[in-house]
């Protein structure tokens, strides 16, 4: 077993071993439930894009990523369990990457099926809805790792990672990015929209970043992991007498 898989393995067990997984599963199932509701009324959406964007991308994905991203490392730093990994001859970069990979995979494992199932139930398998659904599935897959990397880094940089992450998702992305033109380039949601639009033009009505979302996502992912590793390498233990 490599160091990477060892850390990822114990992170997975820590993330799954708690009640939060059940709650996240419930949250991830809401688009499916919504789709079932629409089906029950014998309806089908003409364009599934705005619904996936407004519900999965804006609410479900950031919340799940926030919970797993901050729990993967920040919560362990706070409760002291991280000390057992920190006091090993492992580069801090390895710790951040393996934990980001695991929490991102877990987030994607919930959000991507939720996007596909919800999208198909809401919009069917015809054109262009199936294409839009699959485009969002891929965009959300990328977005899962991106959000997790940002939230994980926040949780290393500050003990209030959860609150700041929530503020970012709700206030910055929800309000500010909508009011201030240009600020969208600092919004993960905008990258996801751009990626989805690049894959299926009808996914979102307009995207400022467009296909540039791929590049923005890659840059922000690298920056978040780099900054998180840097912060972890000078991390000072909390709660010392």
């Amino acid at each position: 077993m490599t160091i990477f898989s060892t850390i990822a393995g114990v992170t997975l067990r820590a993330l799954l071993g708690r009640r939060r997984t059940l709650l996240m599963l419930l949250l991830a199932s809401t688009p499916v439930l919504l789709g079932l509701l629409v089906r029950a009324n014998d309806n089908e959406l003409r364009n599934v894009g705005p619904t996936i964007d407004g519900f999965v991308v804006r609410v479900v994905l950031p919340l799940i990523a926030l919970v797993f991203g901050t729990a993967a490392l920040g919560a362990e730093l706070d409760d002291g369990t991280a000390i057992h990994i920190l006091t090993k001859p492992i580069s801090r970069w390895t710790i951040v990457v393996s934990k980001t990979a695991m929490a991102g995979t877990l987030t994607a494992a919930l959000v991507v099926p939720s996007t596909i199932l919800g999208g198909i139930l809401l919009g069917g398998t015809g054109s262009p809805n199936l294409g839009v659904t699959l485009a969002f599935a891929l965009a959300n897959f990328i977005g899962s790792y991106l959000y997790v990397a940002i939230f994980l880094t926040l949780s290393v940089a500050t003990s209030r990672g959860l609150i700041i992450g929530l503020a970012y998702a709700l206030i910055w992305e929800g309000v500010v990015a909508g009011l201030l033109p240009g600020s969208q380039v600092f919004s993960v949601r905008e990258y996801i929209g751009g990626i989805a639009q690049a894959l299926a033009p009808k996914a979102v009505a307009d995207s400022i970043v467009g296909a540039g979302g791929f590049a923005y996502a890659a840059i922000v992912l690298v920056l978040a992991i780099g900054f998180g590793s840097l912060r972890l390498s000078t991390y000072e233990i909390r709660g010392t007498d």
Binding site: K88, S91, S233
Partner: protein, 334 residues
């Protein structure tokens, strides 16, 4: 908190290892396992560790001090988990701060209980072995579990362990790569007397094998029974460092107050006053309080004085043996 001056300090510690904490690193010779030069650490305006220097060679050293004295801060700095605000720390010939490779040479047993409760003891030790990149992590973990006498419970989740068992699981994980330096923060907390004896024997044998062991404690007897070198830290300062016997002499030679109950307190008080070790006796509310200049001298004399005065002793006990008073005395001597 009581001290027993009759105990033989020569019986303490391993015969083969003699740690010699000194107040400054050795200028010549091989680099000591652990060395601190004028290390301080402050949080805002609060000074947690104040200008501490010492060097440690292989053997067991006790880091003694009251709660909140800065022991954990010091250990965390040695373990590279806190950056010293000033000064220099070297562990196993390397910088302790910002240097993960130093953990090949360190085993840390933190005081906090925090361990993933879903892991079994064996999984926890195996995890440590894998993260240390050992060739055979499973065998190394099995050996460590055997060393701490936790084999019977090795496959139970740590969440079901008692406090003492969790402590041993943490020690097993810290030992798994057989580090030359072991740092333990209050390792005996929560252990029952049998576990304590076993752990002390284990630490002695590891010191005898040439390891440098530093453990913190606020309990004098633990340090007395285990360590032959001692660092006394009070309010962030190094109050005393060196051979335990020497420091204990300082502790035991300080003025003491004893409370005595006997069949005839008044006669006994008069008899005590003739003793050179006694410089005051007070009889109040049927309690005889005796102030003595020297702890050991008085404890040797008390039975003889009572016998000569034909008085039966019911109770003799020191009244001011709280650890804090011992520390305060050591600090006042600096």
């Amino acid at each position: 908190m009581t001290m027993s001056p009759a105990a033989d300090p020569g019986a303490v510690g391993p015969a083969t290892a003699t740690p010699t904490p000194t107040s400054a690193p050795t200028p010549n010779g091989p680099e000591p396992a652990i060395s601190l030069e004028r290390v301080s650490r402050w949080y805002g305006n609060v000074v947690a560790v104040n200008d501490i220097s010492f060097a440690l060679a292989p053997g067991i050293t006790g880091l003694l001090g009251p709660n909140g004295a800065g022991k954990t801060t010091l250990l965390h700095m040695l373990a590279g988990l806190l950056r010293p605000s000033s000064g220099r720390i070297r562990v196993a010939g390397q910088a302790a701060w910002h240097n993960p490779s130093v953990y090949r040479s360190i085993g840390l047993v933190p005081e906090r209980e925090a361990v993933h409760s879903f892991l079994t003891g064996r999984e926890f030790a195996t995890l440590a072995a894998r993260l240390q990149r050992l060739d055979d992590p499973v065998a190394a973990a099995a050996k460590a579990m055997q060393t701490v006498d936790l084999e019977a419970a090795a496959d139970r989740p740590i969440g079901t362990y008692s406090k003492g068992m969790r402590q041993r699981a943490k020690i097993a994980a810290a030992l798994v790569h057989e580090p030359p330096i072991l740092l333990l923060d209050e390792p005996f907390n929560g252990m029952d007397p049998r576990q304590r004896i076993h752990m002390m024997a284990l630490l002695r044998s590891m010191a005898a094998a040439g390891r440098t062991i530093l453990f913190s404690s606020h309990i004098l007897e633990e340090v007395e029974r285990l360590a032959d070198g001692v660092l006394v830290i009070v309010a962030g300062r190094l109050a005393a460092a060196g051979d335990y016997r020497e420091i204990r002499r300082l502790m035991t030679d300080r003025p003491h107050t004893f409370l005595v109950r006997s069949s005839d307190d008044r006669s006994l008080a008069a008899a005590f006053m003739a003793e050179p070790a006694v410089f005051g006796a007070e009889l109040r509310e049927n309690r005889l309080t005796v102030r003595v200049a020297e702890f050991a001298g008085f404890t040797r004399a008390v039975a003889r004085v009572a016998r000569d005065a034909s008085v039966t002793l019911y109770e003799v006990g020191p009244t001011d043996d709280s650890l804090e008073s011992v520390f305060a005395y050591l600090v006042s001597r600096r």
